[in-house]
């Protein structure tokens, strides 16, 4: 049963559900694995209804062991399945880190291209939900640093639906970083027409001339809001949604920076060693003669993610983004 109709309005979480359902309907090799994803529908209800619809051979409530979940998904993939694994929260992916970095990422290369790893690891990520420790992490850099992995970070319902489908269709392993604090933000989804934009491309979501602001996933509403606030002060920002974090779409970003001459990167992860640093270095190399200011970053501090009542000071917010924009324009 397909849920597709021309254009529907769905929260991000439900767009992912629809993407999973349609992928499972299209290909019976697709199966879901994870903790509490069966009758409960996952702690975020992303797999809600799928167990009833597809049964426990295809929607598997696993034992509570992340290394086991990802490790057995590798075996299933070798056997021709397309497992979609749910990690309950970002902070709980680390028991599976060995499997992800030494096995999932390297199997294709190890077998000289004979074995593909078409598996998807879905991770609700990011902070701002007032949670206890380990529920607000931004682990993208660990994975972006590991060759063999692809990373998608949808920020809208439409992307959430299509990236789910495209991640499952990919012959490479894909980590889907789902913006958990935006799960219930609604947006339009057109499930009938495949997007022209590849999932591996960035999108200019707001054209502008004075500076480029790059972000992804949960930070997108923030940077768009910042651009509106800046516009009120006469500053015209171009906003780019990176969408894919591995690979990063450098041509789109560089093209924008050559026009604006300035780049600000916003992410929740620590600035130190964050993905923004790699992007800043590449853009500095590629756009050196167009840059009118150093590439700046706004992000988390070099600290463990703080307790909930302090997280507002750790996370980038409107003022910190605008402060970054001011510093960028001072040059």
């Amino acid at each position: 049963m397909s849920t597709s109709t021309a254009t529907t309005t769905l929260p991000i979480a439900k767009a992912i559900t629809a993407g999973l359902r349609d992928a499972m309907t299209a290909d019976d090799k697709v199966l879901l694995m994870g903790e509490d994803i069966g009758p409960l529908g996952g702690v975020f209800r992303v797999t809600d209804g799928l167990h009833a619809e597809f049964g426990s051979q295809r929607v598997v409530d696993t034992p509570l062991a992340e290394a086991g979940i990802v490790g057995t998904a590798v075996g299933l993939a070798v056997r021709g399945y397309r497992p979609v694994v749910e990690i309950q929260f970002d902070g709980f992916v680390f028991p599976a880190f060995n499997q992800i970095t030494t096995q999932v990422a390297k199997m294709h290369n190890r077998t000289s291209g004979r074995v593909n790893m078409p598996l998807v690891i879905r991770i609700p990520h990011g902070g701002g939900i007032g949670a206890v420790e380990h529920h607000s992490e931004s682990p993208e850099t660990y994975f972006a640093h590991t060759a063999g992995l692809r990373i998608l970070a949808p920020a809208t319902s439409h992307d959430a639906y299509w990236m789910t489908r495209q991640a499952i269709e990919s012959e490479d392993p894909v980590i889907m970083l789902e913006p958990k604090r935006r799960y219930w933000v609604k947006g339009d989804v057109d499930m009938d027409h495949r997007p022209e934009l590849s999932p591996w491309q960035a999108a200019v979501v707001r054209p502008g001339t004075d500076a480029t602001v790059l972000a992804w996933g949960p930070s997108m509403p923030l940077v768009l809001e910042s651009a509106e606030a800046a516009a009120a002060e006469g500053i015209d920002l171009e906003v780019i949604d990176a969408r894919s974090l591995a690979p990063v779409d450098y041509p789109t970003i560089a093209d924008s920076v050559r026009r604006t001459g300035r780049l600000l990167i916003v992410h929740e992860a620590s600035v130190l060693g964050g993905l923004g640093g790699e992007i800043a270095a590449r853009i500095s190399e590629q756009c050196f003669y167009h840059l009118e200011a150093p590439v700046l970053r706004v992000g988390g501090y070099h600290l463990p993610y703080p307790p909930a009542r302090m997280e507002h000071a750790f996370l980038p917010d409107l003022d910190r983004v605008l402060d970054g924009v001011d510093r960028l324009l001072e040059h």
Partner: protein
């Protein structure tokens, strides 16, 4: 014959459960455990009343925490309702010098270790990641990444071996570690690795699982095809299953296991059969995955009621005592209520306080940057913006 068994029966589902108090409070004599309880005077009427009071207190604190969460004062609460005997019993089984390694739902254990409930609530409110001094209270911080604390427990026990405080025969000296984890967490690789290390090095550690039947929505049957107690036997770690709603069985079995570990006889595993009476946390809706009839069935095995019935049978409890406990519990709940409502949010600059033990230039620089950034707004405010 010891309650700690090393062999797996042919029919693996046949695992006896040690019980000293029946659901109606009737006491069954037990050679090994009665001796252990008597030796340390752990089952005198006065002690029994003490456990009763402890359980009533911690339940009241737990219920208050749930309502504080509903009032927006806590981000989350993980209730331990129904597990009071499994926790108060295990907590009191330890000696002061023992080191306890809990997960995040160990409120009764914490109470027995003298940790004030508001320190637990601090974490769930989101003002700290861990509210007490582990060395002072000999209790590890609450741990959230499932299973990750089990190897810490074994390592601490290996330290005890090197310190020569195991098997000396002196009750005040000999020390052991109590490692706690849930039935769900028992599937994590780190728990298996902990069994391996503990067995290989014969570390003085007791593994203690409260099998409360559910890991969020997943029943224990998904974690293990055999009674959990039997798991460790393949590692050569003797084990027992006890009735976790029976405070005396828990107390006796865990005390006996700790005694054995302290004496240098290596690790022991105790599975404590109980029930998570509330939802997984305040964010969970248990009606989505378990029948109300099951909850009802377990309500009849309520651990507090059971001990009270036993005390009544002994003629060692009266209305006045029960009323006094209820009153004290009410006072505790009120104290918690006011304490939490009055708790100020910490200045976020404190997030820079402890990432490292030694000075770190990047952290120092970011702290200055943060302070300068915040000061900018204060100046603006003073400037009358």
């Amino acid at each position: 014959m010891s309650i700690f068994r090393s062999t797996i029966p042919d029919v693996a589902t046949e695992e006896p459960m040690v019980q000293l108090l029946g659901p109606d409070g009737t006491r069954t004599p037990h050679e090994q455990l009665d001796a252990v309880l008597e030796e340390a005077d752990l089952a005198t009427p006065e002690r029994l009343r003490g456990y009763y009071r402890d359980m009533v207190m911690i339940r009241a604190a737990d219920l208050e925490a749930t309502s504080l969460q509903r009032q927006g004062q806590l981000g989350l609460w993980a209730s331990a309702l129904g597990q009071e005997a499994a926790q108060i019993g295990a907590g009191h089984a330890s000696r002061e010098q023992d080191y306890l390694v809990p997960t995040y739902r160990e409120h009764g254990v914490a109470w027995a270790r003298g940790i004030e409930p508001w320190r637990l609530l601090e974490m769930f409110r989101g003002v700290s990641h861990g509210g007490w001094d582990p060395n002072e209270l000999r209790t590890h911080p609450y741990m959230i990444v499932l299973g990750s604390q089990a190897p810490h427990a074994v390592g601490y026990a290996m330290g005890l071996q090197r310190d020569g405080v195991v098997g000396t025969g002196d009750a005040e000296t000999d020390t052991a570690v109590l490692a706690l984890f849930g039935d769900g967490a028992s599937s994590e690789g780190e728990v298996s690795e902990s069994f391996t290390f503990a067995a290989s090095f014969q570390a003085p550690v007791v593994f203690y699982t409260q099998n409360n039947q559910w890991a969020i929505s997943v029943p224990t049957s998904v974690q293990s095809r055999v009674p959990l107690a039997q798991r460790s036997r393949g590692w050569g770690i003797p084990s027992v299953r006890v009735d976790g709603n029976d405070v005396l069985a828990v107390l006796g079995a865990v005390r006996s296991a700790l005694d054995s570990a302290r004496a240098g006889k290596g690790p022991v595993f105790v599975e404590s059969l109980t029930y998570r009476m509330a939802a997984h946390t305040t964010s969970d809706d248990a009606s989505r995955y378990r029948p109300a009839a099951e909850e009802q069935e377990w309500a009849e095995r309520d651990p507090i009621l059971r001990l009270r019935r036993h005390l009544e049978q002994l003629g060692e409890i009266d209305e006045a005592f029960v009323a006094r406990c209820d009153e004290e519990a009410h006072d505790l709940a009120m104290q918690l209520h006011h304490h939490i409502h009055g708790m100020e949010d910490p200045d976020p600059v404190h997030m820079f306080d402890h990432p490292y033990a030694e000075p770190h230039p990047i952290v120092d620089a970011e702290r200055e940057e943060y302070l300068a950034y915040v000061a900018q707004f204060e100046d603006e405010e003073e400037g009358g913006r």
